[in-house]
Symmetry: C2
Subunit: 423 residues, 2 copies
């Protein structure tokens, strides 16, 4: 086989970025380099899958060794990500055909797609249509979502670092409030991400070690919000401990499915764009009890917080990127490598796999056994699950007081197809 | 002199706590121990000055060596702080007399008060009234305020760590937005503290290294907010760079002094309690330009973030605690030790002093020369000022993925005065 016939690989980042998605990219890139006879170049989609549709392919080999190594410590999506959901094949077959055309033009036979549930679905469809179009490729999905809601895997890269950030921030803010509550703020609310699943808010429970420790109340999307019960619990907590710390999932909702958050705008996937829950809760409490309150909304700070990323998360993000390439080299297709937990303490894990057609578009909620009886906290079982995921501090390097994060050059490969204005 | 006649020292924390106020406490405690012939016990006020008024004195000598050493890495006010402003001597002479009574009962001749402008004022008054009441004591104020608004000192302990947190968070969140802005969020707003002075928001400017880097817009309390100019700048930024990152001081206000933030509740000092500016700005932008936006409110997370404290800040917090004791031992009174900047780069500083009657109730605003011409950014001169303050990472230890922060036992000294229900 001539060198220029060695098939190439395509890698793309999808959806909300994380503190460690670039570590999975590094796992792909470094592992691919160990198969020089089987993988030619790695092309990364500029701004995710849109890079493939637009034939905007970043030539990874043109980046410096330092820049590539810097992916280990750089948050965000270094190649660019996008919120762009491919429609069903029947609705927009042209989109899938375009992908295959681009892949064919650049001799791309490996498709590594790094994202959440929607991307798993796309990955699966690309694999199907490639086969139908006589251009079979190996499509491997690399899990990534701070929401931790993918099935079959113990957890999702990106989650452990958010969990660490949220638990740590809860711990720190709670100490602040505890030290001043006799004359100042009595109630503090931290709003965190989590549309449908309460994993992120649940991880905040790790901040509590003893009876009375914060967080005193966690609000989960899975547990229907009951205003009267909530307000009673706030009052009881303030009267018992002098203050009350609340961690609230953005997706907190009432029994009839109404989001407490006021916002109603929607993103490109049609998901409701949330935010603004914390001030709403603060207002409820103020009106009912008159307590002085403060609130914080972590928003992007939580998922970008590479400065306090979890070492477990980093290790798993890399391992899954590596596994994706290894699986492709074994001839596998339409799979997602997963994390399989072997034991809680000491935490042991190994790589498994899940078929994409079973992964796609499923959301894994927190199990009932993770919620305390009153629904405002987590159980010991949940703590055993969460604890190892935030272990270890994977600090970046610093210069002049700020982390050294890399910015790639993003040299694009010459286009081989005629311009196509559809994307 | 008999051992039980060696005078004691009183230390109290005042107002909003910081990531490093306990480091100043440690500076006081460890330095006092080097003067065994001149300082007997150190009593810390439980919940600040209220501890003195209520005769709730924490006996520092009862804490374990590990707990005291742990003050170096523990945020919040380890002895408790309070928002409690003593009135003028004429209005409430009884309050000052009570303090002197308690000090006299416990043979306290040194008063170390760790706080901001209001505390400097109290410290000065306590010194005056002690003298008038025939119980002269040495009152030394140790500067502390994340707002960085005390005069005479290069900066205030607590500020450098908030500055580091805010610059770092801006840098990380901006990378997140940059990597997704082609299809997702175009505008991100981070609301930070700063009622009257824009120091904290200004420090976010350190995140920018090149033209076009975030933050693209900083809103300062010192610069009147002009909605039309602001919205035009947002639009221009999005059109030029694809996204716009805004860091907004909570105290942002219009030319006629109206706060943009909606909240109107007041704290114990009579200060307006702010918050809610970010969603307001987001709404303005949404209505004017329709951009998809996200916003974060850092609130207490910023001032409690010991996990990413600045080493400079830590060093200075300790040095000022130490200097307070040294000054008292030199017979000084009604002073505040200060940081004097000797040079910007390399950053060199030394301890100076300022008389309390000149410190009290003055607020130091950012100088005009620190604001860029359009008022939306900082100048090179400002960068030279801010840069050394965030230098160095003073990491705490971690166990199981979370920082090890100490909690003191807080053994109270036996009361010597009859109960007094006034406080």
């Amino acid at each position: 086989m001539y060198a220029d016939q060695i098939p190439n690989a395509f890698y793309a980042q999808s959806g909300g970025v994380t503190a460690v998605i670039n570590v999975s990219a590094l796992g792909v890139i470094q592992t691919a380099a160990t198969y020089p006879d089987k993988i030619g170049n790695i092309y990364a989609g500029q701004n995710g899958i849109l890079g493939a549709l637009r034939e905007e392919l970043i030539d990874v080999s043109q980046e410096s060794r330092e820049a590539i190594q810097g992916l280990m410590t750089t948050p965000s999506g270094a190649f660019g990500s996008c919120r762009y959901k491919l429609k069903g094949i029947d609705e927009n077959r042209a989109e899938y055909e375009r992908l295959i055309e681009v892949f064919r033009a650049h001799n791309i036979r490996y498709f590594f797609y790094n994202g959440g549930g929607d991307s798993a679905d796309t990955c699966q469809k690309v694999s199907e249509i490639g086969e139908k179009m006589g251009f079979p490729l190996q499509a491997i999905h690399i899990p990534k979502t701070i929401d931790n809601d993918l099935p079959f895997t113990d957890n999702c890269p990106g989650f452990g670092s958010v969990a660490k950030y949220v638990a740590l921030s809860t711990q720190e803010a709670a100490m602040d409030i505890a030290s001043m509550c006799s004359t100042s703020t009595k109630v503090f609310i931290l709003e965190v991400m989590g549309r449908h699943a309460g994993w992120i808010a649940g991880a905040a429970g790790l901040a509590a070690h003893e009876q009375g420790d914060a967080p005193h109340i966690i609000l989960f999307p899975e547990i229907a919000f009951d205003e009267a019960r909530f307000l009673a619990k706030v009052k009881e907590t303030v009267e018992t401990y002098g203050f009350c710390v609340i961690v609230a999932s953005e997706g907190t909702q009432t029994a009839d499915g109404q989001l407490l958050s006021g916002s109603t705008s929607r993103d490109a996937f049609g998901h409701v764009q949330l935010g603004g829950l914390a001030p709403k809760l603060a207002n409820l409490i103020k009106q009912a009890h008159g307590y002085k309150h403060h609130w914080a909304v972590a928003d992007y700070l939580q998922r970008a917080a590479r400065h306090i990323a979890s070492q477990t998360d980093l290790d798993q993000a890399f391992a899954l990127g590596k596994a994706a390439v290894d699986l492709a080299m074994e001839g596998k297709n339409a799979l997602m490598p997963t994390i399989e937990r072997v034991s809680d303490a000491p935490y042991e894990w190994q790589i498994g796999t899940a078929p994409l057609d079973e992964v796609a578009n499923q959301e894994k909620m927190m199990p009932r056994s993770f919620f305390s009886d009153d629904g405002f906290g987590i159980t010991a079982e949940a703590r055993r699950y969460f604890a190892p995921l935030i272990a270890g501090e994977a600090y970046p390097e610093y210069t002049n007081g700020l982390p050294v994060y890399v910015k790639l050059e993003k040299h694009l490969v010459d286009k081989k197809l005629p311009p196509d204005e559809r994307w």
